[in-house]
């Protein structure tokens, strides 16, 4: 038993962290709220160049051949900066799914959109490929052949689309049990990736808040010297620290093919969702009115957290899966 990342994993994380610090500062997220795509300009290309977009593809398919234990740290970093890109859908869910089913996936893959999580598809308008579960058939569809209706997310950088397609559109890549199993695995990767992003987001909100309350003065002292604020933020730290190991453990289980890996993913996602929601709530309260304004960056992280907490299954639905395995038995 050894619960620690190796140097390669840490190095990759640090490299991604550095890249994102340069290419995805809060202004980038803010711009994505109102630009035509909802996406960053530079970050996606830089991540593709670094190999991150194709990281989960095997080496012989042009990828980095990374497992969940490697990419979970990368995803955490994308959460930390609220990266407005389909990194979960493309790098973690879509590309490995299509590759595993024998489809040709370019490396780096083009942007992939999915209709595997909720009823709306993220970045479907700028995706080259849309993966849809249609009855018991998994289809690959060219988004330009589908009718996309823009929805509006509270996180304006999340460009969601309702999708209407002609019957039998696109190419069937798998059916029946094969499609079902592949989609179940893909959804677990999506849930784990979202959990990792939520950890990053929660840490970011906590760090931002610690910084703010340390400099903001009221009644002649920093507001962060108030015990009530200290205790709220200590609770956030507890929530993060005790969600994080479940996320890493679920990553290990996915890589190891642990028969309980789906349950481990659900433990991770439920705790990460709750931790991020708590972080958002207390971060806003500790900021006070300034946090309630558009000009403060906090809301960019907070709204992403609200959305991701409910993407790829919310905390309750994942606890329900744990209960089915552990409690109902």
């Amino acid at each position: 038993m050894r619960f620690a990342f190796d140097d390669d994993q840490i190095d990759l994380r640090d490299a991604v962290r550095g890249l994102l610090a340069d290419t995805c500062p809060p202004e980038t997220v803010r711009t994505a709220w109102s630009n035509s795509t909802g996406r960053s300009d530079a970050a996606w290309g830089a991540l593709a160049d670094m190999g991150v977009v194709s990281m989960a593809l095997p080496v012989d398919a042009g990828g980095l051949g990374l497992g969940a234990l490697d990419w979970v740290l990368v995803l955490e970093e994308t959460g930390r900066v609220a990266l407005p890109e389909p990194v979960v859908e493309t790098a973690v869910v879509g590309a490995p799914l299509l590759h595993a089913l024998g489809c040709d996936v370019p490396a780096p893959p083009a942007s992939i959109a999915t209709l595997l999580d909720s009823g709306a598809s993220l970045y479907a308008d700028t995706a080259e490929c849309l993966v849809v579960l249609d009855g018991d058939a998994l289809r690959m569809v060219d988004p330009s052949t589908a009718r996309l209706t823009a929805e509006v997310s509270v996180d304006r950088s999340r460009r969601l689309f309702a999708v209407e397609m002609a019957a039998g559109a696109g190419t069937v890549v798998a059916t029946g049990p094969q499609a079902r199993d592949a989609v179940a695995a893909a959804r677990d990767r999506g849930a784990l990736a979202a959990a990792a992003q939520l950890i990053g987001l929660a840490e970011r909100m906590l760090a931002t808040t610690v910084e703010y309350v340390s400099v903001r003065h009221q009644f002649g002292k920093p507001v962060g010297a108030q015990q009530a604020l200290k205790h709220k933020l200590a609770d956030v730290a507890v929530a993060i620290e005790f969600a994080r190991p479940l996320v890493y453990r679920a990553a290990w289980s996915l890589d190891a093919g642990d028969p309980d890996s789906a349950v481990h993913v659900s433990m991770a996602k439920s705790q990460a969702s709750d931790a991020a929601e708590l972080a958002a709530r207390h971060a806003l309260q500790c900021h006070g009115a300034i946090g309630y304004s558009y000009e403060c960056d906090l809301h960019l992280f907070m709204k992403r957290a609200w959305c991701l907490a409910r993407s790829w299954g919310d905390a309750r639905s994942h606890r329900d899966r744990v209960a089915a395995a552990v409690v109902d038995a």
Partner: protein, 388 residues
């Protein structure tokens, strides 16, 4: 104890309900905290005024009906249950007006109140400053005496001024005695936002509306006639207003009962797919909205008996603000992945109003004195715990 409504109260309720059913917009108006929505809300306010529903508890001469406090609560219940629009006049009617009734001269009352009731003059509040949020006594905006002109020249900045960009007038505190200590030497002034030397800059809000403003003062003139309650008396004058804000008038139970009704309705539509334990959360929301309603009836009865609510209004503010967050959070939990869909999304349940409402609810524990401050007040002044 008699927990039935009197025939008069029932008749009042019937009259309100009938009028609203015939006049309230059938579809929700766009947010009153955007420019377009504000104009539509003004129309609605004037319709309310014309039918004498804008300020039911005020004297008839100012446009009211001299309704009792209990009738006012009934009005509020019916108003929110009918889904009628948010009141963009609220900061004037609920925050400034009680102060004008208590501290204003007859001239001020006659000049200010009818125009406020008619929504001809829209008021915003100017309490907070960049370095004076919870710590209101840290206000730095100042007023300098201009004897020649018979008034004051004001300098400084106010912030978080709700709907400031759409209002005509601002009420707030300004430091008139620079040598006095924190709570002293401030004066309550009524400021014309069109006056020379006033600049209003809209600030977008968390929920995407342009609901806030920053207001800058650079020598704008305020005549003596617009001093409310005496020079250097501003703190005690203002405190009576913040009491109103926390207490009864700003958040009547009708709002939360209406939200609880909508939550039950939402649950009915979502329960097949939602987690079964949310039923318990919905029942709890309903019970707590009822608790707030009956607590308020008890408070109003005490007020009718001559007791003024004191520090216990802090308990009130903690309760309704957290209830409001909890109810909206439960709604988002019912909506699951669809919760993120906002106003304007085709796929959004109830036109995205739950996410919008959640964001607004999150301001509850912050504004009008953060809940941390309220808990301090409750602990020290209601329970008598030691300050230091």
């Amino acid at each position: 104890m008699d927990l039935t409504f009197t025939p008069d109260e029932q008749a009042f309720r019937d009259e309100v309900r009938t009028w609203l059913s015939e006049n309230a917009p059938s579809e929700p108006l766009p947010s009153g905290d955007t420019a377009d929505g504000f104009a539509l809300h003004l129309e609605w306010e004037r319709k309310l005024f014309d039918a004498r529903w804008s300020v039911v508890s005020w004297p008839r001469e100012y446009g009211g009906r001299e309704a009792t406090l209990m009738e006012w609560l009934i009005f509020e219940e019916e108003y929110w249950l009918a889904g009628a629009p948010n009141r963009v006049t609220q900061n004037g009617i609920f925050l400034l007006a009680p102060t004008v009734f208590e501290f204003g001269t007859a001239e001020q009352q006659d000049r200010i109140l009818p125009r406020m009731a008619a929504a001809e003059e829209l008021w915003c509040q100017g309490w907070s400053e960049p370095d004076a949020g919870s710590d209101l006594a840290a206000i730095k905006s100042r007023a300098e005496r201009d004897d020649d002109a018979g008034g004051w020249r004001i300098y400084g900045q106010k912030t978080w001024t709700t709907r400031g960009a759409f209002c005509d007038k601002l009420f707030g505190l300004f430091r008139t005695d620079p040598d006095a200590e924190r709570h002293r030497g401030m004066t309550y002034l009524l400021v014309d936002l069109d006056a020379e030397g006033v600049t209003v800059r809209g600030v977008d809000r968390l929920d995407g509306d342009e609901g806030f403003a920053e207001v800058f003062f650079d020598g704008a003139f305020v005549p003596d006639a617009d001093v409310l309650g005496g020079v250097n008396q501003g703190w005690s004058v203002a405190m009576s207003t913040t009491g109103s804000e926390r207490g009864l008038t700003l958040r009547s139970p009708g709002r939360f009962m209406a939200t609880a009704h909508r939550l039950v309705d939402l649950h009915r539509r979502c329960r097949e797919e939602a987690a079964p334990d949310l039923r318990d959360a919905v029942a709890r929301a309903w019970i707590q909205a009822e608790a707030y309603r009956w607590y308020t009836f008890a408070t109003v009865t005490r007020m009718v008996d001559g007791h003024q609510p004191g520090a216990e209004s802090s308990l009130n503010k903690i309760f309704w603000s957290e209830l409001d967050v909890d109810m909206h959070r439960t709604a988002l939990d019912l909506l699951g992945s669809g919760a993120e869909l906002d106003e304007g999304a085709e796929g959004a349940t109830d036109a995205g109003l739950w996410m919008k409402g959640y964001q607004f609810a999150l301001s509850g524990p912050i504004y009008a004195g953060t809940n941390e401050i309220q808990r301090n007040i409750a602990a020290e002044r209601v329970l008598g715990l030691p300050r230091k």
